[in-house]
Symmetry: C2
Subunit: 222 residues, 2 copies
Amino acid sequence: MMEGMAAPERGRTGRPPRTSRAQILSAARELIDDEGWERLTMRKLAARAGVAPTTLYHHVRDREELLAALLDDYADRIPRRELPREPVERILAAATVMHDALAGWPWLVEVLTADDLIGDAALWMVEAIVDAAMEHGCPADEAVHLYRSVWYYTVGEILVRASADRKRAELDRPAYRDTVFRRLDKPELPRLSAIAGRWPALCAEDTYAYGLRALVEGLLTK
Amino acid sequence: MMEGMAAPERGRTGRPPRTSRAQILSAARELIDDEGWERLTMRKLAARAGVAPTTLYHHVRDREELLAALLDDYADRIPRRELPREPVERILAAATVMHDALAGWPWLVEVLTADDLIGDAALWMVEAIVDAAMEHGCPADEAVHLYRSVWYYTVGEILVRASADRKRAELDRPAYRDTVFRRLDKPELPRLSAIAGRWPALCAEDTYAYGLRALVEGLLTK
DNA sequence: GCTAGTTTTCGAACATGTTCGAAAAGTCGA
DNA sequence: TCGACTTTTCGAACATGTTCGAAAACTAGC
């Protein structure tokens, strides 16, 4: 038993596969297009792929890995825009492409679990950012810090916004009994009013660009 | 039927409760202490509370809300350290307290869904940061942008690190067949080597403070 | 005491992700 | 052709979160 790996076409043996990983992924894409990612269940996916549910697990570790794979090859298709030549602007542009591309996928909350990277496919953006930082004069390790900081900031913004949206959508969910009562058994909310007055209804979308520029400039003028 | 709300002790009627929300929360805390949050199932929790599983749903909307409530009253117990007087340092200190407190809860990934805020309890940190920013000369809306940026950055760092840890812990999970094979059917990883050389093994923990300061200073010198 | 109303509890059941072990369907060497 | 080996598929089953509807247990008015 050749545990784990097998040369792709080297004297294949065993039962011939009725389905492939690629087919499953593409069936998943169809299903998501049709019904949305929240309704992508393993059973439905199996049905669409014409296969038993358990068979999926031979091609995919679990649902999360499946979603991650979808995200990964989605990232692979992000158009590689022409980036500005000036380093700072180049970093901002690359980060923004990354951000905007990811922000369209609300199910990121369940998937965005890579450390440092989106996935193998989007490395060109990492490269662009690290390159630009070094061109600007950063030593390598600071360039990596910079990339990471940008990545943290971006992931945070996307996740916070995504779950805020989700929560808003859930407001008209059925039976959520005695919410009011529940709030009452808490101690007084401390000084909420003191802040509330200063909390103008700012469009959260504007914050990303605002903070991103500050972050990058702050990192580069060190 | 007084839909939803009921005055706490105003002529109570109906079947007397065998259990309270507070009891459930505290049973949940015990369970988490004993077995870790990943093993907190609604059924086990019900057993510990001496109640049928479905009864929980009368006191709690769902598992997520339960975890959020636990997080919230955890945040309530974060010791309020003395913060520095100088505004910039005060912001950094408040953000770091927030960060460190949250970073100890690996299940944040499933819970950190508040927009703008951790929960009702940790408002004092929001207040500290917004206050300091205004004291430094920011108008109110920029102070809010600043807080939000810091929050995004912090959430991002925590979540990315938490899931990186989780992934590392999962490496010795059972049957994850032909990972190697799967990597081979991808196109060549683009330019990975070009970056790899510049990717020193930097301690990811250092990045948080590094980027945070840059972010805040960048925002304040606008 | 009886009935109507109200709140809490619970048992049955469902959907879903996933594991497990065995069956199916081939290849290869004897 | 026959068995050993390998890979893929699948049915049964489990754990978990959750919904639904009805039963339980009490209070208040008659």
